[in-house]
């Protein structure tokens, strides 16, 4: 296998982008990434795009071809593939692209993610997202995504020391970071009271425990490490890629409060990179709900089970903490265009490792990690990136 590097990144602003269509979203991110890598589209050998549910959100399938076409690559007939793994789609597009380059089959490959969620009513998007769980045996009886994560929270809070305030601190921290990220959907800091006074969505989770419905796209360009300097002065090396699966339904998990797929993917990634959690300078985790960040921090091995609430309260996961988590603002504040999230996480880590993260920069960051979850933990992808 060849070493692979990220040579360019591009990300649209995240939010309710009423004037921008699905294909325009992708094009915007792709153009930014090409510009970042000082590349023109003619150099692209292949394209992988993560997208969860364009069929439900914009009534469009066959995303691979659409994206290649509107990127002006139709006449070159390059391979273009859609990757779907619910909210983990972006990371898996990244992983597929990485594998393609590492194998030697392709050289310069785009890995992108896009989701246009606001063209349908909120209840329709809630329903579309619920398809990431077990439709027959969870969705059929009325389970929503917030509802499933709320059941994780109920179980967790019954078994481990986690206060409602500590859970709120996750959102407070991520809004603080989001306020320092120009692409974030929410640019406003909040307090614990903001969270605790917001409406209950699924007990104990409130509106401010939940990531929003977001339009957005992100793209990165990969190349063999040996060629990376042709395109950029600051290539970022992919130190590890890993992916794990688990039961589709939450009720079939070994332990409701532990994402075994995160544990497995994390362990494999650390092994591949020959690193330990203490060597990670920052991590972007999948905080679709505040409880998910709590679980992710523990399941990746940054602390023991049951300690993430205290860790958060004590500021250890803040920008200036021991292990900064979700410097981008996370899904909570930066927004969660589901198929794009995994790629956005990579963009954030690359920006941090390049020292380009502005007011949210982690000084001297050399190694960063991403953790991206599909469903309630049925798919998890973990990546570790480092300065080349």
């Amino acid at each position: 296998m060849r070493d692979v590097a990220v040579i360019g990144i591009g990300c649209t602003t995240f939010g309710e982008k009423w004037g921008t269509s699905f294909r325009e979203l992708f094009l915007e991110a792709g153009a930014l990434a090409l510009e970042d890598a000082s590349l023109s589209g003619e150099k692209i050998d292949a394209l992988y795009v993560g997208n969860m549910s364009a069929g439900r959100f914009v009534e469009q399938e066959h995303i691979g071809a659409l994206i290649a076409d509107y990127s002006g690559m139709a006449s070159r007939h390059i391979p273009s593939t859609r990757v779907e793994s619910a909210c983990c789609s972006g990371s898996l597009a990244f992983r597929q692209a990485m594998i393609a380059v590492a194998s030697g089959l392709e050289d310069v490959v785009v890995a992108a993610g896009v989701e246009k969620m606001t063209d349908v009513e909120t209840s329709t998007s809630v329903d579309a997202l619920a398809a990431a769980a077990d439709r027959e045996w969870e969705g059929f009886v009325g389970a929503t995504f917030p509802g499933l994560y709320a059941m994780i929270a109920t179980d967790y809070m019954n078994r481990y020391p986690l206060t409602r305030e500590q859970l709120a601190q996750v959102a407070v921290k991520n809004h603080y970071n989001g306020a320092r990220n120009p692409i974030a959907q929410f640019q406003k800091e909040i307090t614990v009271e903001t969270v605790l006074r917001s409406a209950l969505v699924a007990d104990p989770l409130r509106l401010f425990d939940c990531s929003p419905i977001t339009d957005g796209a992100a793209a990165v360009i990969l190349a063999p490490l040996e060629r990376a300097r042709e395109f950029t002065d600051a290539p970022i090396r992919i130190l590890a890629t890993s992916q794990a699966s688990d039961t589709i339904a939450l009720h079939d998990r070994r332990d409701i409060s532990t994402m075994d797929a995160t544990v497995a993917a994390g362990r494999r990634a650390f092994e591949m990179a020959r690193l330990t959690p203490s060597q990670i300078d920052l991590v972007e985790v999948h905080d679709c709900f505040t409880i998910a960040e709590i679980c992710a921090i523990e399941d990746l091995g940054f602390c023991q089970k049951g300690e993430a609430g205290r860790l958060t309260e004590e500021g250890e996961t803040a920008l200036n903490g021991r292990i900064p988590v979700n410097t981008s603002g996370g899904l909570k504040a930066c927004g969660h265009p589901v198929g794009a999230t995994g790629i956005k996480q990579v963009c954030e880590v690359v920006q941090q490792l390049r020292g380009d993260a502005g007011r949210r920069q982690i000084d001297g960051a050399e190694i960063g990690m991403t953790q991206n979850v599909g469903g309630t933990g049925a798919s998890v992808a973990v990546h570790i990136l480092g300065r080349a």
Binding site: S123, T124, V126, D127, A130, D134, E136, W137, E138, F140, V141, G142, A143, T144, P146, G147, A150, M151, I152, A153, T154, D155, N158, A199, L200, V201, A202, D203, P204, L205, A249, L250, H251, D252, I256
Partner: protein, 136 residues
């Protein structure tokens, strides 16, 4: 839900009929046709669950998709059936704040949803607190 997808599992949805592996005796609900432990050396056959169990975790759904919007708030729970498997289901309670971890529940037959006012009605299993009936 579509009519064929609902219809295909009517006995399972109405009557808590799952499966059992003839090799290791492990039971499955929702039904599985392939035992993850015995794999191809096992065979699964229908298995009738008795409909009693205990709440493992729960939430109160306050914001639902269109199909369930008129039922909110309602309690959604993961229930461990006495035979072992866990299942996601609604718990029908007088007050949504009644739900507790460890609460004993029994199955009941209820309307789960419908395709609007003119479409098919989907029935299935919900649970209620398993408390004895008293005289007055």
């Amino acid at each position: 839900m579509s009519v064929p997808r609902f219809w295909r599992k009517i006995p399972q949805r109405y009557n808590l009929i799952g499966t059992q592996c003839t090799s290791c005796s492990r039971t499955f609900y929702p039904p599985r046709s392939f035992c993850p432990d015995c794999r191809r050396s096992g065979e699964t056959v229908p298995y009738q669950f008795q409909g009693k169990g205990e709440v493992v975790t729960y939430t109160v759904i306050r914001s639902a998709s269109d199909a369930f919007a008129q039922q909110t708030p309602f309690v959604l729970a993961i229930i461990r059936l006495d035979e072992g498997p866990r299942v996601t289901a609604q718990i029908v309670v007088e007050n949504v704040n009644e739900a507790r971890i460890g609460m004993r529940v029994r199955s009941v037959f209820r309307r789960i949803g419908a395709e609007g006012d003119s479409g098919a009605i989907y029935y299935g299993t919900k649970f209620v607190p398993d408390v004895p009936y008293i005289d007055a």
